[in-house]
Assembly symmetry: C2
Homo-oligomer: 391 residues x 2
């Protein structure tokens, strides 16, 4: 196990009707003028936004609102949010939505207190200061509610890039599983896939002797394996939603990722797909992961065999561990397909003729120099072959 | 799953040589005059205390020291620490030791800023304010390094009682697994037992539909099952020590205990043993848990069968789940015995003739009224039978 630091100071409020406490928590964490940032119409039509605003009013906290965050959130709205916050003297950002809304909120929070272009943070500059952010989560997926991370797409060039820093960790996050019951099945499944990707990206490590985090990751994968089909079959199943929601947070606050190198190549390879085709990130991951895993599995075949046995219930083939490893990857892909996820470019809406462009942006865009690194370093040729496996 | 809040803001610094950063972290968390609180001679003789003091000196932070914390820490030294801190104007408590030192430090931290008797907090008064506490952990066991809890024994009457409050959560905790390599095997095993007890106390729940936390608990139990024998066989095994140390923290910061009722009857029943006989808490738990589990297993036999199958590798007897449940309890006890833990009163140094006294203090001491509650409510008759099973 490698040396590490771990810090997860977000205050989590979990359960039914907890969004009515939003005002109380904004006050507790020092907000006196709030930007309520949200996505599309569902936050309004479901009455959620009304309940959140009523909760702020009850505490006498003034606020302004900014909606319109789209999946794969864009830099344009971030600039707009920064301007609005400066103009209105906002000192607290309240994100009401999923990972896109939260990530957009984090970008605004960092940008408001920075004199330069907020995109600097998405080009490698560490975030050291930001307005406080609180969240009310409406989909279990990105884990952004408990993470120091944010991913934004820059409209010029459609670069999708991440930034990170403890300053943008949410001060509090309100998680009411009931709010996720109205999600369409496809979005629910995409969220489940994203959570499982966060687990696999941590599982694929070159660090040795990391049994405790291996076991924690496996525990969360087993939870998703059990609860995923239940929630797709019965979208109103609060209990299954609740188990998935807490798993989604723990999967990404790094409790199970400390002291080990991590991968994140699948995320990077997928980011180019969702940036270009605007597909759901989770759906892109469902197509990406099996291809990446098959391509890299011989780098550490026993690691893939281990997750096959412990999570997917495969029998270990001690003479041919590569058979077990592959069986586990196929079981994972079949599981995702059973939830309604796509399995190839066509189902995703991606095009084989774009592969050279995807590879070029992936490996050379925004400061990279011909490869991406993680569990295995992948150059342009590797990435081309991986995208071709998805066709 | 039940509604809950979760808050674990401690900054963890994990790995080799990390104790040399103590001064830096005291400074980061606002300490300007420190009480370095520690236990016996080993902190001195190992050179640990020298390294910690050097680190404070390097940052120019003045300090006073107070050693002498014993296992099952006593109220007398807490009063002494409170007086010393007030006299010296201490504003930060740095605990260098195991759970006893940390718990004693937390009690001092709460007592210094309170006008009344600190024991009020151990009689039910919530702790709302305290000096900041930092820790340098030397044994993986109590999880006190990441918890809001403290257990102290009052010398008058030998009551062993707990207190809790976010104010006494450590601001930072430094976890260097190498510091635990010099522990005698018996103490190592007692620590492992305590960690597993924290997991079982959470596993024994009356809440339904808690798959995610069940799975996380099982993951940590599986880790202990794997790493425990390795570290007993090879005390210098840093990697096994590291996995146990992180498991011990996660086992008790409540990541795996949220949204579910918990038990804690085994802890309560054991506390009377370590209070009266001054045995190691973990050793007491090794004797207590199997008796408690056998006594209560019919309350939810499938829960005991589940941990038997998932953790102890038992085959499910679908016609007779109670057979599997019992097999799992026996496997757990055999595991603890294999690590060197006692299995009965005699090996623990306890006496059958004291049972009436133990039961009376347990069920009627310090405000209780004839029973203890948890997974199952246990009255004096139940507790008598449980202690008798341990003889």
């Amino acid at each position: 196990m490698e040396n590490f630091t771990f810090y997860s100071p977000t205050f989590f409020v979990f359960g039914k009707d907890t969004e009515s406490q939003a005002g109380e928590y904004v006050k507790r964490f020092g907000g006196t003028k709030v930007l309520v940032h949200f996505g599309g119409k569902s936050a309004k039509s479901s009455g959620l936004l009304d309940r959140v605003e009523a909760s702020l009013q009850k505490e006498g906290i003034p606020y302004v609102t900014l909606g319109g965050v789209k999946p794969n959130p864009r830099s344009g709205l971030v600039y707009e949010g920064i301007d609005l916050c400066k103009k209105e003297g906002v000192d607290f950002i309240l994100a009401v939505g999923g990972g896109s809304v939260i990530d957009s909120s984090k970008a605004i929070a960092a940008g408001v207190v920075y004199d330069g272009d907020f995109w600097d943070f998405y080009s490698g500059k560490p975030i050291e200061e930001a307005l406080p952010v609180g969240t009310i989560l409406t989909i279990a997926a990105t884990g952004s509610e408990g993470s120091p991370d944010s991913v934004i797409t820059k409209e010029e060039g459609m670069f999708k890039r991440g930034a990170s820093g403890n300053a943008i960790r949410p001060k509090f996050s309100i998680l009411n599983p009931a709010l996720t019951q109205t999600l369409p099945p496809y979005q629910t499944a995409a969220g489940i896939t994203d959570i499982m990707a966060h687990l696999y990206e941590r599982y694929l490590t070159n660090s040795k002797e990391v049994e405790v985090t291996d076991r924690l990751i496996e525990a969360l994968l087993l939870t998703m394996k059990h609860e995923g089909p239940r929630v797709i079959a019965d979208p109103d199943n609060y209990e299954a939603r609740a188990n998935i929601m807490w798993a989604g947070m723990v999967a990404h606050n790094n409790t199970c990722g400390v002291g080990r190198s991590q991968d994140w190549n699948s995320h990077n390879i997928e980011h180019e797909l969702s940036a270009l085709y605007d597909c759901a990130h989770g759906a892109g991951l469902a197509v990406t992961m099996p291809a990446v895993f098959k391509y890299v599995m011989n780098h550490d075949v026993n690691r893939f065999a281990k997750v096959a046995v412990r999570v997917w219930g495969c029998q270990m083939d001690f003479d041919h561990p590569e058979v077990t490893a592959l069986e586990g990857i196929n079981a994972f892909q079949n599981f995702l397909v059973s939830l309604g996820m796509p399995k190839n470019f066509e189902q995703l809406g991606a095009k084989a003729e774009d592969i050279p462009k995807l590879v070029d942006v992936l490996c050379n865009g925004d400061g990279r120099t011909g490869s991406i690194s993680g569990f295995v370093t992948l150059n342009e040729d590797d990435c081309t072959k991986i995208y071709e496996m998805m066709v």
